[in-house]
Amino acid sequence: MPKIQLDNLVKRYGDFEVLHGINLEMEENEFTVFVGPSGCGKSTTLRMIAGLETVSGGEIYIDGKPVSGLEPKARDLAMVFQDYALYPHMDVAQNMSFALRLQKAPKSEINAKVKDVAKMLGLTDFLHRKPGELSGGQRQRVAMGRALTRDSSTFLFDEPLSNLDAKLRGQMRAELALMRQQVQKNMIYVTHDQIEAMTLADRIVVMHGGYIQQQGTPAELYKRPVNKFVAGFLGSPPMNFLDAELADVDGKLVVKGSGFQIALPKECAHSLPAAAKGPVTMGIRPADLTYAPDASDDQSFHLQVVVSEYIGAQSVLICDCAGQKVEVELKSDTPIALGEQLRFEVNTDAIHLFDRETEAAL
């Protein structure tokens, strides 16, 4: 039985519907990440699971029981908030033990639990500080600690790292991944950062405009996005999209646009529906374009370098392909000049084709 199930979940504010029937099943001890741009409904969904937002339609099941009529405290959840939501007037130990104290747990048990979690999160020296006396990273850890001291079956994370600076965020992401190995619980994590989603998730749920676009493992979503939105959202640098046309040339299936004509592999020709011929959007990730001066014309792009973004070992080149923008990655020590024409070979197995109108993958 799925641990948490969303059945046709709807949220309306007045006449304005923000979630249009979300269906989702999360297995026991799965780390599920809701990812999407601002306003896609991911936080609202999480808050509805938590019980902080009312349900306008549909039902939420935890352990097979409908919970949409229950108070948050009756749902056995722990939650980490975006702004940490620590109790400013309590010290770290009191913050972490608040839920247990409300449950009237024995003092020795509370102390032991707080000590354990504090040790795990490196908070032992700060137990008697107030949140106002902690740095951002420490507050973040206290928020985690408060969730961990409770033996809840489910942990909810609402963009827990988004208030940290870049360096600290990377560090905390790694700590989260480590914590994940030690704590086997249901975890639902909301973020707009696709890197957090890819690195942490067992299952990613991509949301957009109040709909689930696609769900699956990070690799599934990366390799087989169902539409242009998912393809463009996951992966960094993002996938290139080019206006193109699918056509038969000399008995071979090709995708051609201004400045390129690339032959598709045979398997691809079989799997595509016949009706697909005509205008399409071609998607290709920067990682699937390789600098290859000697590549053949029907396997490569001719690109003119417009901007070079030096990152370190790699540079991202923003190039022009007969009026369309294409980003590629290149080792930084490759000698190139701005304005130069370069040839990049396409990994033809990694070409994605999308319907120009519906943006669905073909």
Binding site: K73, L77, M79, G137
Partner: protein, 308 residues
Amino acid sequence: MSAVARANRLTPYMFLAPATVVLVFALLYPIGYMVYASFLDWSPSQRIGEADFIGLRNYANLLTDAAFLESFWVTIKFAAVVVTLEMIIGVGLALLLDRNIRGLSLLRTIFILPMMIAPIVVGLMWRYMYHPTVGIFNRTIKNLGFEQGIPWLSDSTWSFIAVVIADVWQWTPFIFILALAAMQSLPRSALEAAEIDGANEWQKIVLIKIPLMMPVLIVTLLLRLIDAFKVLEVIMVLTNGGPGLSTEIVALRIFRTAQEFQELGEAAAMSNLLLIMLMALTIGMFMYTKIQEARTARMLKAAQAEDE
């Protein structure tokens, strides 16, 4: 030091000068005048220069003046009772109304009306309501079938209660407004976190809301306390301190000492004692907040250094 540098150094003081002058004349001069007057045996028929300097004798007299000590005691009793009641009712109302109710802003406006009425008018209004025969309270009591009305302003206990009610009526809205504002600016997510942690409504109030509002509540309490110690008009109109000395608060005593007994020096000494007491309260309040702020700032700096 060059002339330019010297001029630059003086610039800030020049900007401060006008405000300082106003402050000195508007504030320090009258207070200084009052302090000086408290050392004099001075009647209104004399110019201040003609009055005899008697040192601290006015203060010494006050400490053995039974009427003054009684008024001091009445004031403390009055301030303690009204501020306690106002805090409880004001914060309680704020807790009740801290939600999205339709027409809340209208309700809020109605609630603060009493505060906007001049104290003299409030006094007159309540005097009519407390009237032994035609006042609304006693008429209601009689209409309910009771023989005896309440001797609102003629019994020493009831008159104290009567002035307390009038003050609570006028000043509870002040606390209500400040408490509501404080409540609505509480971090929403901390309350949500408490909900998830399993707190019920009552626990949220007692364990989260009230402690978080404490800084505002303490300041509000002190402001009200300072005001309650200075209360005058409502009581003057309602009871004029009577019956006996049962509602004679210090401000009224000061007024009568100057006006009826023509003892300006003694009245000034009384005012100074009140001022010193209120100043002690205020300074205590500022020191409390300063110390808290400094402590937090210090710890925060240390914490950020550790993150580097």
